[in-house]
Amino acid sequence: MLNKVVWGKITFFHLLVAVVILLAAILITKILALYFRRFLKNRVSKDHLQLIIKIVSFTIYTIAILSAFAVLGLKLTGVLFGGAMAGIIIGFASQSIVGNFIAGIFLIIEKPIKIGDQVNIDDMTGFVEDIRIISTTIRTYDGLYVRIPNQTVFTTKMVNYVGNIVRRFDYMVGIRYSDDADKAIDIIKDVIEQHPFALKKPKSLVYVDNLGDNAVNIIVRIWAPVSEWYKLKQVMLWKIKVTLEQAGIEIAFPQRTLWFANELKSRSGESD
């Protein structure tokens, strides 16, 4: 049964051994991936871990496929020649894939983004879910799965919102002309000082930026650790508003003062 010829000189036994080699490769890859995830979890970053697993998997699969070919009696020179020819044909037919592949390699080397980063690529904003060899996937803030070819990632303008460890946000606070701007600035500085994540350095800036149509506009620039930036931005403006109002300083609203060329007569005067 095992010596039964399937094709050319390949027997059923050869075929069985080749299949066992490929299955063993899959099994070893899975075990190694599990091992790496468990033991390297706290030692290397998530994207480096993924890269290590991919390289190890690719190496094992290549060795397994070449071994399976050897068992089946296929000459490697023929396979390599065939592979090279196929590569040229496929390369011409799929230039964009090759471009994406090369861009993927450069992305892995240059590391402008990491898995988990918050980015804007090609007007898509969200979290980097995975950086693969051909494409990068993003989970947008509203939960959409977006796959972006690596060539696009590499060649278009990219913003990494968490690329630096600190980030600034600004507010414009408009107070009435009748309020004391110096007092307002001191109060705002105190509110900033009280919050642990509003950084001591780089120093926050609070100053009168312009005299607007309806308000004295105070600009507030606060630096925060990038991981706390958004949460801090959500709470600080309301804290500033409430604290200013507790001190009798009101947020201004649009108003117009009208001057009449002639004194207005009241309706009661007209009827007289």
């Binding site: 706290n42 030692r43 690329g163 630096n164 460890i165 600190v166 980030r167 000082e193 009280q194 642990p196 994540f197 950084l199 001591k200 350095k201 780089p202 630096w223 650790p225 991981s227 706390e228």
Partner: protein, 235 residues
């Protein structure tokens, strides 16, 4: 006072209170510190708790392993000299469930006002827990549950007088000791030039008879690569 206590427990101190009491068949941990409250149900057979000063890195969030102590007055040090000064550092208190090792962290809280800062530039710098201290020639009086005393040995290995306005530490390497009077630790700072220095903690008590506090990263089983810090972005 820091140390080991039996359960149930009722500790009332200035600024905080700790209570572990039985409610039905369960033990309930209740802590108040300032406006902050914590309540947690304990399921287990451990009969004792350990209250220890821990590395001041956990409140309000475990955001950074670095502690920046800014000096209220700039210090100038002579070339080739080796001098000792004393600083104050912030305290956090750790509550651990214990009978025998390993210890389990139940709660960490502080009576100090936490603040963070950036050392270096936004690209390559580090976020640090911020603290401001004056420089003292002898151990200063401290509020027992709020501040500790650090003996800092400064060595100027440069050939010129150097100004120092801050010391950044990798607080994971802190070796905190305590007795019933104060919490203390020892550290060193080797000034190499006007913008570079190396800091590290020393594993020895400030006074005889001081007890070593449980190191939180040991309790949490956090692997530590190095306990030193190289200040390259200015002193």
């Amino acid at each position: 006072m820091f140390g080991t206590y039996a359960i149930p427990l009722n500790l009332q101190n200035e600024g905080f209170s700790l209570l572990i009491e039985k409610e039905g068949g369960l033990f309930v941990y209740k802590r108040e510190a300032g406006r902050e409250k914590k309540e947690q149900v304990i399921l287990g057979d451990k009969k004792r708790i350990l209250i220890n000063p821990v590395e001041p890195l956990n409140n309000p969030k475990d955001l950074s392993p670095y502690l920046d102590i800014e000096f209220k007055r700039i210090l100038t040090i002579e070339p080739g000299s080796n001098r000792k000064v004393f600083l104050k550092f912030p305290l956090e208190m750790g509550v651990f469930l214990s009978d025998k090792k390993p210890f389990d962290v139940l709660d960490i809280f502080t009576l100090t006002k936490p603040k963070y800062t950036l050392y270096g530039n936004p690209r390559n710098g580090v976020i640090c827990k911020y603290w401001e201290s004056d420089i003292f020639s002898a151990p200063p009086p401290v509020e027992y549950y709020r501040e500790g005393v650090m003996e800092l040995t400064l060595t100027n290995t440069a050939k010129e007088w150097e100004e120092v306005s801050k010391a950044i530490f990798n607080a994971y390497g802190m070796k905190i000791y305590y007795n019933d009077k104060m919490v203390a630790m020892k550290a060193e700072m080797r000034v190499m030039n006007q913008s570079t220095a190396e800091t590290a903690f020393l594993d020895s008590p400030l006074q005889n008879g001081m007890k070593k506090a449980l190191e939180l990263y040991v309790a949490k089983k956090i692997p530590i690569a190095t306990a030193k810090f190289m200040m390259r972005e200015g002193l």
